[in-house]
């Protein structure tokens, strides 16, 4: 219950990392002599940052408020989920560095704007950075592995290694502590039927749904999108009819970096800029993708994210303030047990056999 007292804007992730004293090694594990590598990349248990329910009318949190706040944070999860799903769609690789792409966008925006530039220029630079790093992760960590064996699990090691490199490079360059993130919108909020929605939250919902819709339209109705579908279905066949898999994959990783970067900029004002943000959001994005069934259809990850956001906000409001640490995972287990391919995937086995339209 003590965590309820923490004000609306929190950066639990930064705090928890400070407590772990990553740099000085956690005192507990130093005795056993194991390094930072084992047990350092943990964040989930210490609680993800939340776009929490406004605590002004504590005790009277309406269902509507829960849904709105849930949609807001769920939009962020959905964007990261889609980012993961887009790169998975083309390469069948889970990019473990996805959360770090979000972090890079936040860090670059914070760094550039603190140097005195306009925040909007900083935002553009941040998005560019996450795109570039996204493409880099493909070139460095994914392509060489797939070139050897399309079905090996080696990407797990290399994308994880890439995440470690990016995260620690950020910590090395910008320091491990949180930095301020420029406010992009004023802090006025909307009152809708007794519930409160900040502009930031509204922007998150609108942007996420808009991006998801645009992506789905492009995927279905452009030649390039159909090329992506062909490669997702059978890369060998697609390259036999002349598709350049590398180009499509590079574009997919760039788009996925862009999505992660946008998610970062939407969440940045609430989390501040901290180099260790990546894992938490990467994990929630991953859950969003799995709940929704984004492995088959990227846009399903957005639905998964929105559902995840509402469920974790609901768990926070109804069970206790720490419930969103574990409740989403419980939901994921239940969903995976009943529909292993996710809730919003393209339906049953026979439907999938039909050619995609």
């Amino acid at each position: 219950m003590h965590r309820r007292a923490i004000p609306f804007v929190r950066c639990t992730s930064a705090n928890s990392y400070a407590q772990r004293d990553r740099v000085g090694r956690p005192a507990l594990s130093a005795k056993a002599g194991w390094g930072t590598l084992l047990g350092s990349r943990s964040l989930i248990v210490s609680g993800g940052p939340r776009l929490g329910v406004s605590k002004k009318n504590k005790g009277m949190i309406t269902l509507f408020q829960v849904i709105l706040s849930g949609l807001a944070i769920g939009a962020i999860y959905g964007l990261i989920g889609m980012a993961l799903a887009i790169s998975y769609y083309v390469t069948r690789v889970i990019n473990f560095a996805q959360g770090q792409l979000l972090m890079i966008a936040i860090m670059v925006v914070a760094a550039i704007s603190s140097a005195g530039c306009s925040p909007w220029i900083a935002v553009l630079a941040g998005l560019a950075a996450s795109c570039v790093i996204g493409v880099l992760s493909y070139v460095v960590a994914v392509r060489p592995i797939l070139a050897f064996d399309r079905f090996s699990f080696g990407w797990l090691v290399s994308t994880l290694g890439f995440a470690v490199v990016v995260e620690n490079a950020a910590a090395y360059i910008w320091g491990p502590t949180s930095r301020p993130f420029p406010p992009l919108l004023n802090s006025s909020s909307l009152h809708i039927g007794g519930a409160i929605l900040t502009q930031q939250q509204l922007l998150a919902i609108v942007a996420a749904i808009g991006l998801a819709a645009v992506f789905e339209l492009v995927r279905r109705h452009t030649l390039f999108g159909k090329l992506g579908m062909a490669i997702a279905a059978d890369p060998e066949m697609a390259s036999a009819i002349g598709a350049n898999i590398t180009v499509v994959a590079v574009v997919a990783f760039a788009i996925s970096g862009l999505f992660a970067g946008i998610a970062g900029i939407l969440i940045g004002p609430l989390t501040f800029a901290n180099p260790y943000l990546g894992d938490t959001y990467g994990t929630y994005g991953f859950i969003a993708m799995m709940i929704g069934g984004g492995t088959e259809k990227p846009v399903a990850a957005m639905f998964g994210g929105l559902l995840l956001g509402i469920l974790s906000e609901g768990a926070n409001a109804l069970i206790n303030s720490q419930a969103s640490d574990w409740f989403p995972f419980l939901v994921l287990v239940v969903i995976l047990i009943f529909t292993p391919r996710g809730l919003f995937s393209s339906g049953n086995f026979l439907l999938r056999l039909r050619p995609a339209h």
């Binding site: 056993a32 590598l37 047990g39 699990f153 797990l156 290694g161 090395y172």
Partner: protein, 616 residues
């Protein structure tokens, strides 16, 4: 087993004996060296020692993961969870209840083993990425519990129990916990090595790569998966037991990132190798201690090194060494020698029933009545199909593509459950039997698209076929090479497999990996793996596809030979020129319905058959 063990010819035999001696000596040398190493570790300074011991614990974890990931293809992220259960249970029971840690050990193994079996049961529903995720969530729940429960001491964790010291007379040996950890690591490595040397190993790989093949050989794949996963969980729990003596037990040491790191160790070192996991564990654990610089730079270097290692050695460090040092060349010569020894013997054992009762021709071996089947909600693929196959007959099954021949074969073999109708094999109703149970009744089958383990040799693939005819493979697997009966059985199985391949006409390919043999040899390997077990009924799904004319002739001779021994066969085939002369009866299927059953001549003369199938 077949009553005539092939005598080993003298020069090769003597060489073999010398080789065996050398092997024993080398084994002894390894053990002595390892004990010496342990002695050194036990007397190291505390910092270095704890580093080695933690690496040893992670070595056990990596081995436990490789056991399921390498051999069964189950990429588990649950090892951290079992590890945590082991460590917390030991700490709580030893400090709060004062239970002796050695008494505790079997309890810990049982608890983690059982929880492993429960998690392993999930692998029957989900596989690949989804299995990784479900096990990941298991680890996560364990860590959340460890953090939130009162009894586990929250994020601070608990101080582990002390490990009992050596008695006064043995203090010269050094630290007792070091001995315990190092010997445990040795035991774990030996356990997995034993399994890899046992005939269970090709079966495990078959479950990983070609599950229908393993099932058709009589392996209860679901039970084996669950059992092996339980064993792996037990090993992880064992590592946890060991870890609790090394200091503080806290949630951060067991979370999903640790599970992921264990997988990184396995992949870096070389998946599905005996020493790979150890190499990986040593690298990952020792890295921060060896490279002692600015922690961020250190992690950057670590990340970069792991990317580098996995891209340059995609099969892991040990995997790449194995590939270049032990290429096919070495085993090739052994294969030649074996072929010279093995006399061309009949492919199948003389059929017991036939010997006893004489050719009771009218006995019905396989009977299908009113079989109806449809995939999903689609149209019916089989409609009211009746099929009767008599003892000793070769029963041909022909029809255009999509007429339901392979579906019918799958129904008889038990891979598909018909929506209605009954199947009887040798007089007993088998409607509720799994494919493995039908295989144990003496019903074997081949697959249209060869289901084989590509990374094993053809002979090892044939070994899979012997699974149900050698008793106690699973029971003995953990100690197989240590048992005289194990070594004897293995030798016999190897010989039988080589003989079967030779008689099938694939003798030149005995020690070649299936991944590198022509399609026709795959077909013959399938045939050999079916025949090696001496079945009563064989279902062959397009056996002549991809064979050369000469090989087809040879195949026809083999099948006639099998028939002469009283084996009943159902053959699906398009090459009627090959099929019709062999067949006693031919059934013609069209669009899921039996049009006609009769002799080859009757079928050939039928106007529908000529119109629909033979093309006139």
């Amino acid at each position: 087993m077949n009553g005539k063990p092939v005598q080993v010819s003298t020069p090769v035999g003597r060489m073999g004996q010398i080789a065996a001696r050398l092997k024993q000596a080398a084994g002894l040398l390894v053990v002595v060296g390892y004990v010496l190493l342990t002695y050194i570790v036990a007397n190291l300074n505390l910092n270095l020692q704890s580093l080695v011991l933690v690496a040893a614990v992670f070595g056990i974890l990596a081995i436990s993961l490789d056991l399921v990931a390498g051999t069964l293809g189950l990429y588990s992220l649950g090892q951290g969870g079992f590890f945590a259960i082991g460590a917390y249970a030991t700490t709580l029971a030893a400090t709060d209840l004062n239970i002796n840690v050695f008494v505790l050990l079997p309890v810990i193994l049982a608890i983690t083993g059982l929880s492993g079996m429960m998690i392993g049961a999930m692998s029957l529903r989900v596989s690949g990425l989804y299995f990784a995720i479900t096990t990941f969530i298991f680890t996560l729940i364990i860590t959340v519990l460890a953090t939130d429960l009162q009894i586990t001491g929250g994020t601070q964790g608990l101080l582990g129990p002390p490990f009992p010291d050596f008695p006064q007379s043995l203090t010269v040996l050094g630290s007792s916990v070091a001995w315990c950890a190092m010997l445990s690591l040795f035991a774990a490595t030996a356990l997995v090595w034993n399994i890899r040397k046992s005939p269970l190993y090709p079966v495990l790989l078959a479950i990983r790569d070609a599950e229908p093949f393993a099932e058709a050989a009589g392996a209860r794949t679901a039970l084996i998966k669950i059992g092996v996963f339980g064993l792996s969980a037990s090993l992880a729990g064992f590592a946890g037991w060991l870890f609790s003596f090394l200091g503080v037990v806290s949630p951060g040491q067991f979370d999903w990132a640790v599970s992921l790191n264990i997988l990184v160790m396995v992949l870096l070192g070389g998946i599905n190798t005996t020493l790979g996991p150890l190499v990986g564990a040593a690298f990952v654990s020792a890295f921060p201690a060896v490279v002692n610089i600015n922690p961020w730079l250190q992690e950057i270097i670590y990340g970069a090194l792991s990317i580098f290692a996995i891209t340059v050695f995609p099969e892991g460090v040990v995997g790449i060494i194995k590939r270049y040092v032990f290429r096919d060349g070495r085993s090739e010569t052994i294969g030649r020698a074996d072929q010279q020894e093995a006399a061309p013997v009949p492919l199948s054992r003389p059929n017991q029933a036939l010997m006893q009762h004489g050719p009771a021709v009218d006995e019905i071996m396989v009977e299908c009545r009113g079989i109806e089947f449809g995939y999903g909600s689609g149209p019916k693929v089989l409609r009211n199909v009746d099929l009767i196959v008599k003892r000793g007959h070769i029963h041909g099954l022909i029809g255009p593509n999509g007429s339901g021949k392979s579906t019918l074969a799958n129904v008889i073999a038990g891979r598909l459950r018909p929506s209605s109708g009954t199947t009887t094999v040798r007089g007993s109703r088998v409607d509720r039997f799994a494919p493995s149970d039908r295989a144990r009744l003496g019903l074997r089958r081949t697959f249209q698209a060869a289901e084989l383990v590509r990374e094993l040799t053809t002979r090892q693939n044939v070994l899979v076929g012997l699974y149900s005819s050698v008793p106690g493979i699973v029971r003995r697997a953990a100690v197989w090479p240590l048992l005289p009966s194990g070594r004897r059985d293995m030798k016999q199985m190897q010989t039988r497999a080589a003989e079967a391949l030779l008689s099938a006409g694939a003798g030149d390919w005995t020690n070649r990996r299936v991944g590198g043999v022509p399609h026709g040899i795959e077909q013959l390997t399938q045939l050999a793996s079916v025949c090696v077990a001496g079945p009563d009924i064989i279902i062959l799904d397009e056996p002549a596809t991809g064979l050369s004319t000469r090989e087809v002739d040879h195949l026809a001779r083999i099948l006639s030979g099998l028939k002469a021994q009283g084996v009943t066969m159902i053959i699906i085939e398009h090459q009627t020129r090959f099929l019709f002369p062999l067949c006693d009866q031919v059934t013609f299927l069209n669009a899921g319905e039996v049009i006609l059953t009769g002799t080859a001549d009757e079928v050939r003369a039928n106007s529908v058959v000529r119109q629909v199938y033979l093309g006139e």
